[in-house]
């Protein structure tokens, strides 16, 4: 019984200490975020680098982390990995998606750099730019020619005629050979 207790104590002690790393990274990110809007930010940035406190590249990683509202949410601190480069890759995931990944335990304290990179890549590739105008009605014609001879020039003639009527941005031609 006492052995079991000591194991649990040891785990709790180690976990508390290890989690302090995550906390320290996120607290530092918060501080950098706070000073980044100040007029003397450029000097702060250079001094941190020249006095060997923190390289500019590391500052950039932490700033990325600091901008992500999900990572900076105190309630998530314990569920996050204690490595700034892993956290940086997670910060590039859209916050609603990242929140779901944390909830589903797909992101947790043991998520490593390779996992974070893979997740970041997976979810960034799905991003598309939205158009502010609604989708417009579309008509598709399929024209089949009897022979291959001269079909491109015939298609071009049709295309030019449609462009002169509706403008080149409204017409998309696809040749299926």
């Amino acid at each position: 019984m006492s052995e079991l207790l000591s194991i649990n104590d040891a785990i709790a002690e180690i976990a508390t200490s290890w989690r302090k790393t995550t906390q320290a990274i996120l607290d530092t990110a918060k501080l950098l975020k706070k000073y980044q809007l100040e007029s003397n930010w450029s000097q702060i940035q250079e001094k941190l680098d020249s006095e060997n406190i923190m390289k500019i590249s590391v500052q950039k990683f932490l700033l990325g982390i600091g901008n992500n509202p999900v990572l900076m949410n105190h309630q998530n601190y314990q569920k996050l990995p204690p490595h700034y480069n892993t956290l940086y890759h997670l910060s590039t995931i859209k916050s609603d998606k990242l929140e779901k990944l944390i909830d589903k335990d797909e992101v947790n304290a043991s998520t490593d750099l390779a996992d974070a990179r893979e997740l970041a890549l997976k979810y960034s590739e799905k991003r598309k730019l939205k158009a502010s105008l609604p989708k417009l009605p579309k008509v598709t014609f399929v024209i089949t020619f009897d022979t291959h001879t001269g079909f491109k020039s015939k298609a071009n003639r049709i295309y030019k005629q449609l462009v002169s009527e509706f403008g080149d941005e409204a017409i998309h031609m696809k040749l299926d050979i």
Binding site: K33, S57, L63, T92, S124, R127, L129, S132, L133, P134
Partner: protein, 221 residues
């Protein structure tokens, strides 16, 4: 790190043909197509010099000092906000600029959200509208990966934006009409000036209709 004139010209020559080197830094600028853009970086150099197209130019010390101070003031400013754009987002935005033949992109906030609207300003001008079809298309990119201190709007020239590297980018929107783009893997800052143009479109979400509404003036009317 020691950077030679050759190395800087090779890496940043597309930004401009003017190179200002000081013992601790360098600045590249002066291309007509992107005269709203300056690249500044750090490096150790033996002395201060000014070069055009790789050739030394003799200018007096006072003028040189004024130029150095002018470059320094570009980064000495507080900021409205900072935003993180990933390399993928940079690529996506550049692709859209090319597809729309966009002239400008506007970074602005809607509450805690940062929106980047990409548009071709020529399409909104009646005197430059030559096509029959009116395609006032605007595409936008939204992100909440940002630190917003106060409301802002900032418009960039797409010619200059296309010259930025496709890397994860920390963007700092300054209160001095200068936007700083800092790539994650490079110790350099690309500074771009505000173009002060806003696309003449009102976009809002209608609660009643439960959809996004865009209102635009027809340049033909």
């Amino acid at each position: 790190m020691n950077k030679t004139v050759g190395e800087i010209s090779k890496k940043y020559g597309h930004i401009g043909s003017y190179l200002l080197m000081t013992p601790k830094s360098f600045a590249v600028f002066g291309n007509e197509s992107n005269d709203d853009m300056v690249a500044v970086g750090t490096g150790k150099n033996a002395n201060t010099k000014f070069l055009i197209d790789g050739g030394m130019v003799e200018i007096n010390k006072t003028a040189l000092l004024t130029l150095i101070q002018a470059v320094d003031t570009l980064t000495a400013s507080s900021a409205f906000a900072t935003v993180l754009l990933t390399s993928h987002s940079m690529g996506l935005i550049k692709e859209t600029i090319k597809k729309l033949d966009a002239t400008h992109l506007r970074i602005h906030n809607i509450g805690n959200l940062v929106r980047i609207s990409i548009f071709n300003y020529r399409k909104f001008l009646s005197n430059s509208l030559i096509q029959r079809a009116i395609t006032q298309k605007i595409k936008y990119y939204d992100t909440d990966n940002a630190n917003i201190g106060s409301n802002f709007t900032f418009t960039l020239n797409t010619n200059s934006f296309l010259k930025l590297p496709n890397q994860d980018m920390n963007i700092r929107v300054g209160t001095n009409s200068i936007c700083q783009f800092e790539p994650l893997k490079e110790n350099v800052k690309y500074l771009l000036r505000d173009q002060e143009i806003i696309e003449p479109v009102t976009t809002f979400f209608s609660d009643r209709l439960a959809c996004q509404i865009s209102l635009s003036l027809d340049p033909k009317s």
